[in-house]
Structures are given as structure tokens and as C-alpha cells.
């Protein structure tokens, strides 16, 4: 199914459309949220907010501005960051990068009741640490490329090509051609 077909289907807004949206994306949005909040129960609450938000704001999604996936990941990140900020820590977003998704996979694997991380763990560990950092900031934490380039102290152009190489490696590991 193409993204446009999917959006059309979801826009019908019946229960089946919701099921489709949930089956397709809940798990990955949950991954994004957990990477920021690091607490399963609170992440579940945020995921609920996020799914409701996506559902209610669907008419505002504009395909000309970006991918549907990008739009919903952005909603998930922003809600998670709001939640994170509302917590006692009150840290700046720049401090969110203390732990990245590799850490979150390890935490989950050690909890022993997690299903999804087991399969992917061995792939992710093969990614270069520099790649983990870049993907974490740009994808999971939602930094703009300018913010990420400042944070990692590498020029924009280098960041772009390095990130491209990282995603290329990720695709090879996950066998997405």
C-alpha cells in the first residue's frame, strides 16, 4: 500500500481505519516515545495521547509538507518531550541525548519481558557508535540538521553524508534494499 492510499484509508475515520493505523504504527511510535521518556507506563500514556492526537488532527496533515510517517513521528516526539519536560527534571532538550536508543534496547533486553528488542538488538549493536549518535539525535530526538551539526560539532555537509552512510548501513543490517 502506498502512503497516499494509507492516508486515504485512515481519513475514512472508521474503526477499521483506526485499527490499520494502530497496527501499522503504534509500535514504532512507542519506540520513539520510550526513547525519550524511558518509562514504560508513562510511555504508554503518551502513546495513547499521541494516537488520539493523530486521529483528531488528521485533516491537518499536508502531504506537500512531508511524509505521513514523518508527521506522526513528529507528533510522538513532541508529546514525549512535553511529557518529559513536565516531569521534575526540567532539563533542556539538549540534555535528552544522555542515553540513546542503543541503551534503551539494552535496558529492554535486560528486563527480559520484552519481545521486540530481542531480534533487533544484535543488528543495532553492529552499527558504529558514531552512527548511533547521529540517528539518535536526528530521528529519535528530532533535532534539525543544524542543531545536530552544532551538537556533534561537525559541519553540515559532513553530517549529511555521514548520516546517509549510517542509514545505508542500517538498511543493510535490516535488509531494506
Amino acid at each position: 500500500m502506498t502512503q497516499d492510499e494509507l492516508v486515504t484509508l485512515i481519513n475514512k475515520k472508521d474503526e477499521q481505519a483506526f485499527d490499520y493505523l494502530y497496527d501499522m504504527y503504534a509500535q514504532s511510535l512507542f519506540g520513539v516515545i520510550e526513547n525519550i521518556i524511558k518509562n514504560k507506563a508513562q510511555s504508554e500514556d503518551v502513546l495513547q495521547e499521541v494516537m488520539v492526537k493523530i486521529w483528531r488532527n488528521l485533516p491537518q496533515y499536508d502531504p506537500e509538507k512531508g511524509r505521513f510517517f514523518t508527521w506522526i513521528v513528529n507528533i510522538a516526539r513532541n508529546s514525549a518531550i512535553d511529557k518529559y519536560r513536565s516531569k521534575a527534571y526540567k532539563k533542556e532538550r539538549q540534555n535528552l541525548d544522555a542515553n540513546n536508543f542503543v541503551h534503551s534496547i539494552e535496558t529492554h533486553a535486560s528486563l527480559n519481558n520484552q519481545v521486540n528488542s530481542i531480534g533487533i538488538e544484535k543488528f543495532i549493536k553492529k552499527l558504529k557508535p558514531a552512527c548511533n549518535k547521529i540517528i539518535d539525535l536526528l530521528f529519535f530526538k528530532g533535532f534539525t540538521h543544524k542543531e545536530a551539526s552544532e551538537n556533534l560539532k561537525i559541519p553540515l555537509g559532513t553530517l549529511k553524508t555521514r548520516n546517509r552512510a549510517c542509514i545505508h548501513e542500517l538498511r543493510n543490517l535490516l535488509q531494506v534494499k
Partner: protein, 259 residues
């Protein structure tokens, strides 16, 4: 524009992240619409990130889905159709028919609701059970993966001294720096006591505490991470007072096995 160069520039990845400014994003979208190769590339990038994100998530219980669904669709109960009665047979007859029909529909509706509730309940139970089985299966799979990993070595720890009946097994993975101990061959630790695992260097005999082997529900398996810089020539298990000891009590060395 050379498509290949455009792809290699890395801008499509930033586009999928949402890391570009809105104007840049719109530019990219225009190009994607013109070139199917770009479309395919963007979809592949997205799929990889989608899998990565799902892969990092912990298990999402079905209750979460139910909660959202309830929130979104709670007000959308199916509406019963209103039967309009044209009063050709008189107001009284119409009214009595209406009362009778309402009664019938009410009773029917109640029993359908009841039935629906039961179906939903049993569906939830099945989902929960399924969830449990899926996670169990994954757990077993990850154990098998660990045990059959090429870097995992099985070490038998025979009983020592007065404890000839006891035994244990250690499965050491040198690339994960992890050891899994199977405790099934050890008697249950008496109250106030606990088994403790030691890494031993033999010459001279240097024990290093690896941790307590607390009874777990995990079929008698305990997994312990090992400092990669540690030299382990043998594993030993002693029985120590609750909380463990700084050095092993050798009189209560139950099992010992060379790596």
C-alpha cells in the same frame, strides 16, 4: 539534476526525519513527485527507520489499544433505527403497538448487548493469553539463540567435597560477556542463605565475586554479566549468608568447574 548525486547527498534521509526546514522539505517533495527512483529511496529509508523504532520499543500490551479505542469510539454506539408509525389504525392502537415493539426491541437489544460483552471479554482473554504465549516463545527463542551461539561454551560444574550430589552448569558467552547458570542441580538454599557465583583464577587462587544466584522464576536459570577484563579459569558456587560474602566460604563450596 542528477538523481544519483541527489540521493547520495543525504538530503532524503533528512527529509524522512523531518530535520529540514519547511521550504526545503517542499522542494524535496516536488522532486520526489517527478522521479520514481527518489520515491523508492524515500520509502526504503522510511521502512528502515520504522523497523528500527519498532525494534527499540518494549512490548506493547493489548490493553493500550483497548484504552485508545474506548476513548475514540465510546460515543459511537450503533444507533437503533426509529420506526415511524403512521397512525392509520388510530392513535391508541399505534401506541399499544409501539409499546409492544419497544418492549421486544428492548429485550432483544439487552440480550445482544450481553452477548457482545461476553464476546469482547473472551476476545480480551484470548488476546492476553496470546500475548503471554508470544512473549514466552520469544523468551525461549532468545535462550536457544544464546545457548547455540558459536561463542557460547557449556561448562559442567560437578559437586565438591560433601556435596557430591550437587551439580550446576554454566553457559559462558565470551562475546556478550555473559554467563547463564543453570541451578537445577543444586538443592534449594536454606532460609537466610544464598548461592553465590565466583570467578576463579587458579594460580594463585584468586576469587572474584560475580553475584548472587537468587532463586528466580526463570526455570532455575540465572543470567549474570561479566566484566570483560576479568580472567576466569573456573567457576565456583558457594552457599553464603543472605546478601553474600566478600570472599567465598570454601567449606560450603558446592560445585566447581574449569572453563
Amino acid at each position: 539534476m542528477k538523481i544519483k548525486e541527489y540521493i547520495e547527498s543525504g538530503i532524503l534521509e533528512l527529509y524522512v526525519y523531518g530535520a529540514l526546514e519547511e521550504a526545503e522539505s517542499k522542494e524535496v517533495k516536488k522532486k520526489i513527485d517527478l522521479h520514481p527512483e527518489l520515491q523508492a529511496e524515500v520509502e526504503a529509508i522510511e521502512l528502515a527507520l520504522h523497523r528500527l523504532a519498532s525494534g527499540t520499543a518494549s512490548y506493547l500490551p493489548a490493553t493500550n489499544y483497548a484504552k485508545i479505542k474506548a476513548q475514540l469510539f465510546k460515543n459511537k454506539q450503533p444507533k437503533s433505527k426509529i420506526i415511524r408509525l403512521i397512525p392509520i389504525i388510530g392513535y391508541a392502537a399505534g401506541l399499544s403497538l409501539f409499546v409492544t415493539l419497544s418492549g421486544i426491541f428492548y429485550v432483544k437489544n439487552q440480550s445482544v448487548k450481553q452477548e457482545l460483552k461476553q464476546i469482547v471479554n473472551s476476545k480480551e482473554r484470548i488476546e492476553l493469553e496470546n500475548e503471554r504465549l508470544v512473549s514466552l516463545e520469544q523468551e525461549y527463542q532468545s535462550k536457544i539463540d544464546f545457548l547455540t551461539d558459536k561463542n557460547t561454551k557449556a561448562i559442567f560444574l560437578p559437586g565438591q567435597g560433601n556435596y557430591q550430589e550437587s551439580f550446576a552448569q554454566a553457559f559462558l558467552n565470551t562475546s556478550d560477556n555473559k554467563v547463564v547458570i543453570d541451578l537445577k542441580g543444586l538443592p534449594e538454599a536454606p532460609k537466610g542463605m544464598v548461592y553465590q557465583l565466583w570467578s576463579l583464577e587458579l594460580n594463585p587462587l584468586t576469587p572474584t565475586n560475580l553475584g548472587l544466584l537468587e532463586p528466580s522464576t526463570d526455570n532455575g536459570f540465572v543470567s549474570i554479566n561479566i566484566n570483560p577484563n576479568l580472567t576466569t579459569e573456573a567457576f565456583g558456587i558457594t552457599l553464603e549468608p543472605a546478601g553474600g560474602s566478600a570472599t567465598p566460604t570454601l567449606e560450603r563450596l558446592y560445585t566447581l568447574g574449569k572453563v
